[in-house]
Each structure stands twice: as C-alpha cells, then as structure tokens.
Symmetry: C2
Subunit: 278 residues, 2 copies
C-alpha cells in the first residue's frame, strides 16, 4: 500500500508516523468525537453537512476546535490532492486534548485521516440483511462520539444469532443501528423512521429530503419492534453504504423487495443527489 | 520535568515520543480498558490485585494481552527503576488493536505509563466532599473501560450545583462515583456499600477485608439515595485518594465525622494494610 498522509500534531504527516499522545483524553478517558465522509472521484460527498455535524458534536462535547471551518475544508482538500485515492473515506477526529490531571478538557487536537474505501454498488442489492435487536441507547445519542463499546462488544453475540447487524431499541421502541439509521415502509406505504434517541445521519437527512421533494408520505415518529411484523420494506442508511435492504428483524421476515418498491425509488434519487452535490 | 519512560509499541521508550496508532480501536471506537495503581517509595501498591482486575477486564472485553502476567510485572518494575519517581501512578492501558476495518478487534498493544502523583495525606481530612447524584449506569459497569464520557461531560453541571464529585444511581439505587466506590455507615453502625452495577475497586475490597478481619458489621446490598438522610458517616474510596469523607449528598448533610468514627478506624487499618503489602 502506498504511503498515506494524514493531518495530526498540527501538520500533514505520514499516517504511520502519526499517533494520539498517550495523555490525550481520547486515550485516557474515551472522550472524543468524529465524523466520516465518503470521497468519490476525489470529491468529498456532502462535506458541508458533515462539517455542520462535526462542529455541532464538538460544541455539545465542549471541544474547542481551533481550526476554522474554512481551514478544515482546506486540509481535507490538501489530503485529497496529496493522497490521490479517488474512492476513499475521510475521518475527522478530535478528543479532549492533553490533560495533566487526566480528567479535564484542555486544547483538543484535530486529526484527519484518509483511507481507501470501496465505493458502494450503484444498485440496491436485493439480498437484505438480518438485524437482531438489543435494548440499549447510546450515551449522548445525538452526538457522534467515538463510543462504540457496546457495538463491538456485542459482535460475537450478534453473530451467534445469525445477525448481520444490531438494531438498538429502548424498551421496544427502535432507535438506530450502531453505524446507521433505520427506515421502514408501512403496509399503507408510509416511510417511517425514528425521531429520537439516535444520531441523525447525513444519508437519513438526504432520504427525508428526497421524500419531501417527491411527495412521498413520511413520518419521523416512535416505532415499535412489533411493527416489523406488518412492514412492507425496511432499509438502513449510512454514508459508507448508502442504503442496505433489511430482510429480517429478529423473528420478523419482511417481504422481498422488488424494483418497483419505494426503497428502489429512494435509492435512485439518492444517487442523483450525490451526483448533484459532487 | 525530567524525561519519563513508558512502555508502548512493544518497547520502553520516551513518553513524549509514544502515541497510540490512529488505526487502533481505542482511538477509532473508544474500545479499551485500563488499570491504575499507586507507587509509594518506589513500590507498586496492591500490584497483584490490580493485575487480577486488569487481566479480568481484558478477558471480558475479549482483548488478548500477549504479555504474560510475569512480563507485565517485569515491565512495571523496569519502569519504576528507570523513571525513579518514588511517589507516582502507573497506568496499564490496552485497546482493541489496529483494525483495518475500523471495527474488529485484532492484536491489542499493551501500554504502561508512569507519572508523578502526589501521595494522599496520611490522615483522613475532616472536610468532607459534596456529592451530587445522577441517574446513570456505566456500560459494562464491572469492567474498568476507558469510557468516562458522561463523567467528563457532566463536570460543568456538577460544579454548577456546588458538587465536588458525582454519585451515580440507577432509579434511586446508588452504585458508584465515576472514579471511586462509596460506603455509608448507617445509624446502627453497619458499614454498607452497593453490591452491583459498579466497578469493584481494589480499595473497596481492602475496606471490606478490614471490616471482616476486625468484626465490623458490614453489608454489600442495594442502597437508596434516601438512606443518606439517616446515615452517620459516608466516604468514597479509590487507589489514588484512599478514602475521602462525604459531608453532603444532594440535600442530605451528614453529621461531621470525628476521630472515633468508624471511618477513621478503617482509614488507620487501611494505612497498615498498605505498609504490610509494600
């Protein structure tokens, strides 16, 4: 693999030389946030929306990013030019900074990493995934923190049930998957997605915009796990994967999607939106 | 400050040169555990108990420490000799390892840091602290993970209420403070401490042993916040601070401790135990 450059320690430097100082609160206390966006044909996708969220996460977590938004954009563009990985992912990352007392937020250091990433397929695969539900709400769920403790810890359990991913719920009310949002199409063709207790993904927002722009009925509302029993379609969304169909949630097997389904229409519109914004 | 050595990247190296690789799951996903012990007169205190817990945390988190217990002890001793900081703290730290997919545990790297630490006073200060309660249970509470997201995030809120530390509870049943365990002495002189939902601290275990060895009545049981209204004494315990008296929990102001109190007796025995084990 060719040598990659990242931004760390206030400079653009080789990725293999960079590290997070051992005194940083990210290392000592797991206190950090990030954002992740896809680069397609050397262009960052929905960069403004990702920056909005990154700076918002930082503000909620009281992390003072010393770089301006314009400087972050400039650094992202420099890395894209220098690394030249047309299909890749960019991770913005910031922790609590070097804390002499190991506990108090100081001056956080921005880190930007770019790494190769296979672009998702340009069609919506009909083989859906199997979600297994777990009663858990992320801490500060509306913030994109680095806290994936439960998600990673639960992997063997999830696999033992034949699951492909986890669906978090709060006493039966679904919220999100560890790295994606969830949508359902009800028996009467309404697109629904949870309204609280989760991270509002950039792709989630794009899907909702597409629905609004195309007169597709949609609702953001509490959804009970039992509703999958009567759901026509379901899919999860993320910047990395765009959309992935869901074929099963726990014991509920959904109808197989077909090309005329709402999921496919939304997927085509999402592709168009990507092209428009890149 | 003199140059300190740590163990990182499989070698003893200068602390300021060491860092956690950007691809480690500790950085990318907050997936890591640690332990922290005090060094007094260049001797590690209760090292065996801390190693028991560290290896146990690692096992629960599926982190395979490639160093044997004997090798870890040898590394700790080498750092103590090389750094020569008679009063200090040693942090053992391990994350999920460098994950090409940013999600799957690989080969974790052990990190050992030694830093100066002012030894706690050899007497139990009568000025107790003020705890403010917060409804929250740590994820995988019995494991010493690096997850202090809520503790750090809550600091401004805690200070706005005049608090010195936070006391977590689960719907009124107290569990622990973010970095210490809690004990209470009831009106009828029984020493009580929570039995579930928290990390079992080394000092907590020492206090319970001391109670057992000295025929002091004690119980590990669920404790409701309201019990502080009638409590005679309360204190928190940690390896760093030994014991700290509590004078107030929310609106409940406790009676001032005096030298004949049970807390003082336990403190004197704890000092003896330290001397015996070092």
């Amino acid at each position: 693999m060719k040598n990659l450059f990242c931004f760390a320690n206030n400079q653009i430097e080789p990725l293999e030389k960079a590290g997070v100082p051992l005194g940083d609160l990210m290392v000592q206390r797991g206190y950090g946030i990030f954002d992740f966006l896809r680069v397609q044909d050397n262009k960052p996708l929905f960069l403004q929306a990702h920056l909005d969220r990154f700076f918002n996460s930082a503000a909620i977590m009281r992390l003072n990013i010393k770089e301006s938004r314009e400087q972050v954009i400039e650094l992202v563009n420099q890395l894209i030019q220098k690394n030249n990985i047309p299909s890749s992912g960019i991770r913005l990352l910031i922790g609590g900074g070097d804390a002499p007392d190991g506990y108090t937020i100081t001056a956080p250091h921005l880190i930007i990493i770019q790494q190769p990433l296979t672009a998702p397929a340009d069609y919506l695969a009909d083989t859906g995934i199997h979600l297994v539900s777990y009663n858990y709400t992320r801490q500060l769920a509306e913030v994109k923190t680095i806290d994936y403790l439960m998600a990673i810890w639960l992997q063997p359990w999830m696999k033992s049930l034949g699951g492909d991913d986890i669906l978090y719920h709060n006493e039966g009310i679904i919220t999100e998957c560890p790295r994606s949002n969830i949508f359902m199409v009800t028996a009467d063709n309404v697109l629904v997605t949870p309204n609280t207790g989760m991270l509002k993904g950039i792709t989630r927002n794009n899907i909702l915009s597409i629905a609004a722009e195309n007169d597709i009925s949609f609702e953001e509302r509490p959804i009970h796990l039992q509703e999958f029993a009567s759901a026509k379609e379901a899919f999860i969304t993320s910047s990395t994967k765009r959309m992935t169909l869901v074929r099963q949630v726990d014991a509920h097997v959904l109808a197989t999607s077909n090309d005329s389904s709402l999921s496919h229409i939304l997927f085509e519109r999402l592709l168009k939106k990507e092209r428009f914004f890149s």
